[in-house]
Amino acid sequence: MNMTAQDDGYTTADGRKIGPVMMEMKNITLRFGGVKAITDISFDIREGEIRAIIGPNGAGKSSMLNVISGFYIPQEGEVWYKGARRPQMRPFEVARQGIARTFQNIALFEGMSVLDNVMTGRLNHMSTNLLQQGMWYGKAQKEEIANRETVERVIDFLEIQSIRKTPVSRLPYGLKKRVELARALAAEPTLLLLDEPMAGMNVEEKEDMSRFILDVNDEFGTTIALIEHDMGVVMDLSDRVVVMDYGKKIGDGTPDEVRSNQDVIDAYLGVAHD
């Protein structure tokens, strides 16, 4: 598994073809007033890859994901996407470029049903205006049926048929996480960002979620960037891992390389400060 040199990608141990660089972060620095959340970080995400960003609490992982999704605008550095430098964009514009995400603290519409929540993921694929939707018959109807089909395929894929009509507020935490993933998938993204997809889950739920993440990558070829705390999960799932600590990048490579990196071990296990 050799990924640095060639631009046309590499082949993973399990035989998946990883494509060329899809997104590249170049020397990103992000400040909130005097606080430096991210300091001069560069890394890339390749097509078809499962890329993890890990690090202890407060390392700046979520900030990094927010930079990718356009929620934060870094003071320094450039974001390159599909071979072009990305100008300053607002999150909805980023979403239209085919980047979808889930949130660390679930951000669903609690009062709405699972189906309606997942349907909102199709927003960028709808072209009818408010008036047409109000009339419904005709174009809006056709569009809704087409979108519903995509949504139903996602529901089937994530095995949430039994809660289709259930209001999200009534669901347990693990299922809410899955609904959030469903909404992100409904957007048919080329790059999927997952912010701690397994946080607060029990072992069984984690296993299910891992399987879904792998299946999404395998079935739709979606590139996935994820933040995760659970080291075991990260090492099993991802092709390459970026390790952050105090806003700096301290490691980047395959799970095995990262595991044997002294800086990473120090960051996780702690070192004696003299």
Partner: protein, 657 residues
């Protein structure tokens, strides 16, 4: 016993019935499955095309007449088609329980020497791959759902739709072969092989011929006037004989529509959407439904609860009478009609039972209250008694003669007699051919004249002619005092309480009886919630003093009721404990159809039984548990042992001394 296929108009096999339906009921819905939120329908003519394509594909893959084809998956039209396709090419379908572990599957597939398997998804593919090295005859696997299987080695792995495509492509080449194979099927050729769940020992392969299945389907369909207009929901395990008879035998014989749920979790929603007219469920399902209704009524406002209680009180009085066609006063009729419009109607609709014309329950005894509840709503729920070896039906209750404590009169064409030891014997056209590769067991079970021992002890009620089952004949024993020991009788009484899920009684050859009890997590959990009792696990809830107190009151009530019965008054429970884990099929404590395996429990928990027969107040124990994925772990607990009050009785034997 000499029915020939003449009697069925030359329709000597299940594939022949399909051919008939494809012409006679061509455009009528045959199969429905909910996929992507929409009910997809296949007519009989379309189903026939699907089956043909798959059968041709099977020939193309090299399936020979006489081969065994394992079918592993939940109820889906494709699996019913696979079974008929296998029959069409002269092979024998062997449906397996899809929740069995890899070892259980290995045993069955090795025993029948299956060369092919049709499985549902990655989970099942993985299980078969895990064991296939030990299966010397096994060759090809066909899967339905391709998800996650892209990277697998596809030399001997095929997608269902691809097999069908290859079959269609090679139609010209193989169609004559297929027709010839289909024409060769007779009333005596094997229709299916089903493995018994095996309360004792290894599962046995029950060979059922086309005669068994078609004769049984014919007789039972006419018994209840089933027509092509019926709708059923196929949700019970495909490996179980009942599903085979209802969803395949009767469906093909009468041409009614088989509906498959979207997923096991959506079964209740799908039931409501389909509104079956013919419905089968084991007592457990009815029990769970009733429990959830009652829990919701407990949580409802006092006004609503009062309305419900009043309507139900009236329903209990007149509902069963109306169903049995007995005379009811006009006023009562009107009142019932009113409640039906306002309360029962919507309730039945919620339960998905609005359209049920014939409902059956079997497998275990059903609680009188549960049975009465459904009957009083106007649902024609009846009981039947049967087993795999009989092709289900031995006895069933005719309309208008329904009782909660009997299992009815012999089904059409079935002869039943009671042996000298009280065991029930039967003989019928549905009686199985043999146990596969097991002539000794076949000879033990079925005698030269075709009488089959059921293993159940029972008797005919003299005045009604209805059969009553007491217990498994081998479980019926004697206590040290000489009194009769019939554990099931007492256990059933216990299980009729919503808070008790399972009970196991011990006492054969002993002075007195003791019992293990499993609480029902949903009922007791809800009760705990309403009473502000905090708990974090099953184990904690099961050990809670208030729960134990509640269970004790039930045990004592059961003792009082058992004491009424002269024959069985010795079976009162002197001491009991509430188990720290649920009895589970994964641990081998129950069969896959959730019947208690008495011997295994007796061995596994010998320490607990010994403690119950000692004077100890509590016991510390450690139990091995198996997780769904086959890993093992331990749970340890300290269980309190409780004494229950018994009603003193003078048994006849004691009095005689």
């Amino acid at each position: 016993m000499a029915q020939s296929s003449e009697a069925t108009g030359g329709l000597a096999s299940v594939p022949a019935l399909l051919q008939r339906n494809a012409t006679e009921h061509a455009a009528k819905a045959a199969y429905r499955e909910k996929e992507f939120g929409i009910w997809q329908t296949w007519s009989w003519a379309e189903a026939e095309k699907e089956v043909e394509a798959f059968a041709l594909g099977l020939i193309n893959l090299g399936v020979n007449a006489g081969d065994f084809v394992a079918i592993i998956g939940r109820n889906r039209p494709h699996f019913y088609w696979s079974m008929i396709a296998a029959q069409s090419v002269g092979a024998i379908p062997v449906p397996l329980y899809n929740d069995s572990s890899a070892e259980e599957m290995a045993y069955v597939m090795d025993h029948c020497g299956a060369r092919f398997a049709v499985v549902e998804d990655q989970e099942q593919v993985d299980k078969v791959i895990e064991v296939q090295d030990n299966l010397h005859q096994f060759e090809h696997m066909i899967y339905l759902d391709p998800r996650g299987l892209r990277k697998y080695d596809h030399h001997k792995l095929h997608q269902f739709s691809h097999v069908q495509e290859q079959g269609r492509a090679a139609r010209d080449e193989w169609i004559e072969d297929l027709k010839a194979r289909r024409a060769k099927l007779t009333y005596d050729s094997t229709c299916v092989m089903l493995y018994t769940s095996g309360t004792t020992g290894k599962p046995k392969g029950v060979v059922l011929s086309n005669r068994n299945i078609i004769e049984t389907a014919k007789a039972s369909s006419s018994f209840d006037n089933l027509s092509a207009g019926e709708e059923i929901l196929a949700y019970l395990p495909m490996a179980w004989v009942g599903d085979f008879i209802f969803s395949l035998g009767q469906a093909l014989w009468t041409g009614f529509c088989v509906n498959c749920p979207e997923s096991p979790e959506t079964m209740m929603t799908d039931l409501r959407e389909i509104g079956p007219t013919y419905y089968f469920a084991p007592p457990r399902v009815f029990e769970n439904q009733l429990t959830s209704v009652m829990i919701r009524m407990e949580d409802a406002s006092p006004f609503k609860k009062k309305l419900f209680d009043r309507a139900m009180a009236h329903a209990r009085k007149v509902g069963p009478k109306l169903l049995d066609g007995k005379s009811v006063s006009l006023m009562d009729r009107l009142k019932y009609k009113f409640h039906d419009l306002t309360i029962f109607g919507p309730l039945k609709n919620t339960l998905g039972l609005s359209r049920v014309r014939v409902g059956y329950t079997a497998g275990e005894a059903i609680g009188p209250e549960i049975f009465a509840f459904y009957r009083s709503l106007g649902i024609n729920l009846k009981q039947l008694y049967g087993q795999t070896e009989a092709g289900v039906f031995i006895t069933q209750q005719p309309d208008g003669e329904v009782r909660d404590d009997t299992v009815g009169v012999p089904s059409p064409g079935v002869e039943v007699r009671i042996g000298d030891n009280g065991e029930v014997y039967y003989r019928s056209p549905g009686t199985f051919v043999e146990y596969y590769k097991n002539p000794e067991s076949t000879a033990d079970t079925k005698d030269a004249e075709g009488w089959v021992a059921t293993g159940d002890a029972g008797f005919f009620e003299p005045d009604t002619g209805h059969l009553r089952i007491i217990d498994r004949a081998k479980d019926v024993g004697k206590m040290a005092s000489g009194a009769m020991f019939a554990p099931k009788y007492v256990e059933n009484k216990l299980k009729f309480y919503p808070s008790i899920l399972e009970a196991v009684l011990f006492g054969n050859g002993r002075e007195k009886c003791v019992a293990f009890i499993n609480i029902d997590m949903s009922a007791v959990g809800n009760w705990a919630e309403r009473n502000n009792i905090a708990y974090s696990s099953y184990q904690e809830l099961a050990g809670h003093p208030q729960v134990l107190g509640e269970i004790q009151s039930h045990v004592e009530a059961v003792n009082a009721s058992v004491a009424q019965d002269e024959m069985l008054s010795g079976c009162q429970i002197h001491r009991f404990l509430v188990l720290h884990k649920e009895l589970d099929a994964d641990d081998g404590e129950m069969t896959r159809t959730r019947k208690v395996r008495r011997r295994i429990i007796e061995e596994k928990y010998a320490d607990l039984i010994a403690a119950l027969y000692s004077d100890a107040d509590e016991i510390a124990t450690k139990t091995e548990v198996t997780y769904e994925d086959g890993r093992k772990g331990y749970i340890s607990a300290t269980l309190s042992l409780r004494n229950a009050a018994v009603v003193p009785v003078q048994t006849k034997q004691v009095a005689a001394e």
